[in-house]
């Protein structure tokens, strides 16, 4: 029900560090991570995790070799006059301290530069463009057509077609954020006054969680988003739906809810396309009900959470900019009913 869990009961033992650690905490280790570097679903992320394992093993060998050398050296003291002579010492330092590291480092730098070049290359021509705006503390997602015009606008959820490269153009509405979906790609900072972009291709359908990775104020911790990779046809259908304006509700209670939305201040920050609500400080709510979560992947999008979030956002996400709204009970009920019609 909740957001996430791309149900990898992933094999924890496959992670080197994890396996070392699981000796210590085998009883408590759970495996339901949804934001891990270890389960890449794009070429970029796969290249990086490959690099990690290469570095990990080389590093482990170096560490053990140094410790072994130190241990043997100390052990030798049991025999008299076993200290290293001048030339032996010099050879040791030159070989182990200069020559070997130099070779390893050059290999690492070379490999890392090659991988970096391929990742930083321009995206292929059939790329789909999405513009993501970082706000304190949520993500605005705009789908762009060929001319850079906005087709559809949503928040904290990026749907992408499987197998198609997606370029994410990043701009900031306020401070520095960092766009990061570990299973798809490394971070790219969202810089005020500067257009950064990154691209990836999700090779597998699924829900991948991302999170802001640059400290951005009080609620930096709860500024996540979801990348939902789905088949091209599903994606098309979804995008079409998102591009459409909201329908006028038929249910009288929902109509009352729309009135509440327009009269009680919601509309000054939020947009619902197809109505008079054109605020642009908070997320576009035109298709709110189609989203899985609220408050940047903090709570599931259910009626209970929605009502509580509207009534008092601060007890869910302290310090958030959305104000408390004191509504009559029937207004609150109608408002939630209305918002649930925004599919």
């Amino acid at each position: 029900m909740i957001v996430k869990r791309n149900a990898h009961t992933g094999n924890r033992m496959s992670c080197g560090l994890g396996s070392l650690l699981s000796c210590v905490m085998a009883s408590t280790a759970r495996a339901q991570n949804e934001q891990t570097v270890f389960e890449p679903v794009s070429d970029h992320a796969e290249g990086i995790v490959w690099l990690w394992w290469a570095m990990f093993w080389v590093g482990a060998v170096i560490f053990l070799a140094v410790m072994l050398l130190l241990a043997v050296g100390l052990w030798r003291a049991r025999r008299p006059n076993s200290g290293l002579g001048e030339s032996a010492s010099r050879n040791l330092v030159i070989a182990a301290g200069v020559a070997i590291p130099l070779v390893i480092l050059l290999t690492l730098v070379g490999g890392s530069l090659m991988l970096g070049r391929s990742i930083a290359a321009d995206p292929p021509p059939n790329v789909m463009r999405v513009r993501v705006t970082g706000w304190m503390w949520w993500w605005q997602v705009d789908y762009l057509d060929q001319d850079g015009k906005v087709i559809a606008s949503t928040a904290n959820e990026i749907h992408v077609p499987v197998g198609r490269p997606v370029e994410v153009q990043l701009i900031s509405a306020d401070v520095i954020h960092s766009f990061w979906v570990p299973q798809l790609h490394g971070k790219t900072d969202v810089m005020p006054g500067q257009l950064n972009s990154t691209w990836f291709t999700a090779e597998k359908a699924g829900v991948y969680r991302g999170q802001c990775a640059e400290f951005c104020g009080v609620q930096h911790a709860l500024m996540a988003f979801l990348v939902i990779a789905e088949a091209e046809t599903d994606f098309r259908r979804w995008l079409e739906r998102q591009a459409a304006p909201a329908e006028m509700p038929e249910n009288p209670r929902a109509r009352f809810g729309l009135e509440v939305f327009l009269d009680r201040g919601c509309a000054s920050c939020h947009t619902v396309r197809g109505t008079d609500a054109q605020g642009n400080i908070g997320p576009d709510l035109t298709h709110l009900a189609s989203r899985r979560t609220l408050a940047a992947v903090t709570i599931p999008n259910t009626r209970g959470h929605l009502g509580g979030w509207i009534s008092d956002p601060h007890s869910v996400k302290e310090g958030v900019f959305m104000p408390r709204t004191l509504l009559e009970p029937e207004e609150l009920t109608a408002l939630t009913v209305y918002l649930e019609t925004l599919e």
């Binding site: 408590t28 949804e34 990690w52 003291a77 006054g193 400290f215």
Partner: protein, 630 residues
């Protein structure tokens, strides 16, 4: 030479002690200028800040021990991690290393005080006041909560109104003053006051490390001072240096900050490397292998560290080509580090080693520091860094480097020089427990953080959702953090208890080779009864071997005189009369502090503080009558 230039009588010794005595009493305390007093103050104060920052860390760990708990509000949590970083970097690590330098360098060089004793005292008061103001700000709810790196635009007054980042800008500039005065002071002392015969290539490695550190401070710190002045102006006068809409650029801040911030890490590390060489020399009973190589690698680390700053900015969207250079440079800094490690291993190989406490901490240093260095090389790779940047992987990495590379050697130094400072040895039994807990605690606390980072946990988050599956790791880490803290506490306890009950140390308990062991423990007011004359890198061992102790004669005992020697070869050149105890440095520090704190509220106070400080400086430097006496 005649008898006249050499008076070893008890009367002369007493006179000398009286000349160099610090005034007693509460008010006297504010006039002390002797380098040992000031150095000890630096060390003790820095340890207090270390403990405070540790408590903040434990509070943060409690908040993170379980998902989605509300022990600490997000605002307060942000203040805690900011203060933890600021305290550890600016109020513990640098002052601790400087304190070691200030206390030990003149003793090691065989001189009686630092070059500018009053400036020294001033630096301490500045440090103390800055720390007190910072912690007061935490308790009145005005502490900076924007990270120790204080990135703009978050730290601009638009996004963070209130006094927090202003405290950051003014107090950082203020504490840098202290670091800079100490650095200049150490450089001049090292270059000009070495005992006759202690040419540069006979200088102890620890002194070399302090020299390199001081030069790095001089070149690195101005960048952050400029940065924080610009940020202060942005916040107070609405200038636009970092405001994108007005033509400013937030990236400029990052360049300024990291141009200082990266060398900062090595500023902390380099003196620790000096400590390692010193202790290995002493406990193997012979000169460490590769003196020249070690010195050159220290210098190389110092230089290269100024070319690495962009590796903190790999994800900011800079051009790929530029990043490659910084990848290469960052990886290459491993070479001088590697040279040092293997010089030490060569020195230890097959030697009879006394495994006393300092040596144990050094062995711990090897394991922890090598791990930190290896992950450091990993994060130099741009693609990999984009995944782990700003995650717990990096938190793990730099705690391994800083605790392994600086704190463990610093604790080794505490055990090693404690008998010199106090006259008694610290307890080995408590020390071993402390070391074991610290060593295990570090690994249990920080090793799992690598895994957490790779599983996606970002830094600087006050909580995380239950669904993320990070709860168990974090619980375990919190538990281990308390273990680690207890380990540190044991050494504190050890130091306090041994002050009264430790075994008497004698002047040279470890049979070490450097000059600080030539004098009593604790050293007399005048450091060395006679300024020694040196003819090798191991003067103490020379004395033991030859039974001869060559010294300088002719310095007067009735006033504070020191000997100046030439920069390269330490040939005696002139004598200098040192200033006497004085309250002016304290007054000046208070005046300057008043200005720094005041400008947060009333910018025009700058003008007032400027002139009052000037008056204080004149009072400080104004010659006392009668002049003819000289």
């Amino acid at each position: 030479m005649t008898e006249a230039c050499f008076d070893d009588s008890p009367q002369a010794t007493e006179l000398l002690a009286k000349t160099w005595q610090s005034p007693p009493g509460f008010f006297g305390w504010f006039t002390h200028v002797n380098q040992r007093k000031i150095g000890l103050r630096f060390i003790v104060t820095s340890l207090i800040f270390f403990a405070l920052a540790g408590v903040l860390a434990l509070l943060m760990r409690l908040q993170l021990s379980q998902p989605e708990i509300n022990l600490i509000s997000p605002d307060l949590y942000n203040e805690l991690f900011t203060m933890h970083g600021l305290t550890m970097m600016f109020f513990f690590a640098i002052p601790a290393m400087e304190g070691l330098g200030i206390y030990l360098v003149p003793l090691m060089l065989g001189t009686r005080d630092m070059a500018f004793p009053r400036l020294n005292a001033f630096g301490y008061y500045v440090y103390l006041i800055a720390g007190i103001v910072l912690y007061i700000s935490l308790f009145v709810g005005a502490a900076p909560g924007v990270g120790w790196f204080s990135y703009v635009p978050l730290a601009d007054d638009f996004f963070t109104p209130g006094k927090g980042p202003s405290v950051w800008t003014t107090m950082i500039t203020f504490i840098e003053l202290s670091a800079l005065t100490a650095a200049v002071e150490l450089i001049v002392t090292i270059l000009r006051q070495r005992a006759p015969g202690m040419s540069l290539n006979r200088m102890p490695l620890f002194v070399w490390a302090i020299l390199v550190m001081s030069f790095m401070i001089v070149f690195a710190m101005p960048a952050v001072i400029v940065g924080s002045v610009l940020l202060y102006l942005d916040r107070t006068f609405q200038t636009l240096f970092f405001v994108p809409g007005g033509g400013g650029d937030p990236l400029l801040w990052q360049h300024l900050f990291w141009f200082f911030g990266h060398p900062e890490v090595y500023i902390i590390l380099v003196p620790a490397l000096g400590v390692v060489s010193t202790i290995i020399t002493t406990f193997t009973g012979r000169q460490v292998f590769g003196y020249t190589a070690l010195v050159l690698s220290l210098v190389a680390i110092g230089f290269v560290s100024f070319g690495l700053w962009v590796h903190h900015m790999f994800t900011t969207g800079l051009p790929q080509l530029g990043l490659s250079f910084f990848t290469a440079a960052s990886a290459m800094v491993a070479i001088p580090s590697g040279i040092q490690i293997f010089c030490w291993i060569a020195s230890l190989w097959g030697r009879q080693i006394r495994f006393a406490m300092p040596m144990l901490f050094i062995l711990g240093f090897f394991a922890i520091f090598v791990i930190g260095g290896l992950t450091g090389v990993m994060v130099a790779s741009v693609p990999f860094d984009t995944q782990v940047h700003d995650t717990y992987f990096v938190v793990a990495h730099f705690h391994y480097v800083l605790i392994g590379g600086a704190v463990l050697p610093f604790f080794a130094a505490l055990y090693y020089w404690y008998p010199k400072v106090v006259g008694r040895l610290m307890s080995e039994r408590v020390g071993r427990w402390s070391f074991a807990l610290i060593f295990i605690g570090i690994n249990l606390t920080f090793f799992p953080m690598h895994q957490l980072g790779l599983e996606g946990m970002p830094r600087r988050v006050y909580t995380y959702l239950n669904d993320m599956g990070w709860g168990d790791y974090n619980f375990f880490i919190t538990f281990s953090a308390f273990l680690l803290a207890f380990g540190f506490f044991l050494t504190f306890y050890n130091a306090v208890v041994s002050y009264r009950t430790g075994d008497p140390a004698g002047s040279n308990p470890w049979n070490a080779d450097t000059l600080e062991w030539a004098t009593d423990s604790p050293p007399a007011n005048y450091n060395h009864r006679h300024i020694p004359v040196v003819s090798s890198r191991s003067p103490m061992w020379d004395v033991a071997r030859t039974g001869e102790r060559p010294v300088v004669g002719g310095l007067r005992a009735d006033r504070r005189e020191i000997l100046l020697t030439t920069v390269l070869d330490a040939e005696p050149q002139a004598a200098q009369v040192m200033p006497s105890p004085s309250p002016w440095p304290f007054f000046l520090a208070v005046a300057v502090a008043f200005g720094f704190v005041g400008v947060m509220y009333i910018p025009l106070l700058f003008v007032w503080a400027f002139f009052v400080s000037f008056l204080m400086i004149v009072g400080w430097l104004w010659p006392r009558r009668p002049w003819q006496k000289e």
